[in-house]
Symmetry: C2
DNA sequence: GCGACCTGTAAGCGGTAACTTACGTGTTCG
DNA sequence: CGAACACGTAAGTTACCGCTTACAGGTCGC
């Protein structure tokens, strides 16, 4: 339920608002799980589960720091996902040519 | 279930692969519902429901053509949604500064 | 006008993601 | 060595999204 293949679907990965909030928070600097959960309306385990998804996607890396665990962002990987989404935009908007009403009449 | 407020969540709107496929197809030119459903692995009513969502979001406009109904893309609106997603990227990647391992030691 | 067409909508179902609670693991400090 | 802390994971629930199968509403040809 939470472990399915996200790595191939950047949209599903970033479609969740909680995960985007985590990413934005981590963009301000490395953070622990408890710190992340403090500013969010969900429980700490929920944050941990989201971090697992982001970690498996390579967006986030974790490092043990004593009994804490510091999470940080992988900017390069994140940028790779952005490019993956940009491919859709270039496909969708790139092909788009200004259609006049005259052109549309060809269909009917 | 299908009518919820998508207009405020561009991610949910574009998160669905079928909707993105419809957008890409429409970017090649105006199309009818049957034509769209022909190239997709889902039924025609399903396409119609997706079109309703896209229409309420303003991305798509429909026009009666006899007993057909021609759908076309609103490039400006679509570009507006792209900018909405770009805001997340500028927030996430914009704040991102190269973190060295030394900086991360401040946390522990 | 009647039947064939294209389409939108209603009702309902199945799958799955996201969340919570409960528990297990490893680390630090007394 | 034992208690407290930070975290990950398991199990289970809930909610919602997307889909299909019907059915209703207009539009064109005979």
């Amino acid at each position: 339920m939470f472990v399915t293949a996200y790595q191939s679907d950047a949209w599903a990965l970033l479609g969740d608002a909680s995960r985007r909030a985590i990413i934005e928070q981590l963009s301000l600097g490395p953070c622990t799980v408890a710190d992340l959960a403090e500013d969010m309306p969900i429980s700490r385990p929920a944050v941990s589960q989201h971090l697992k998804v982001l970690r498996e996607a390579g967006i986030v890396r974790d490092e043990p720091r004593g009994r804490h665990r510091v999470y940080s962002l992988d900017g390069a990987r994140l940028d790779r996902y952005r490019r993956e989404l940009d491919q859709f935009w270039s496909d969708a908007l790139g092909n788009l040519t200004p259609r006049t009403d005259e052109e549309q009449k060809e269909i009917g």
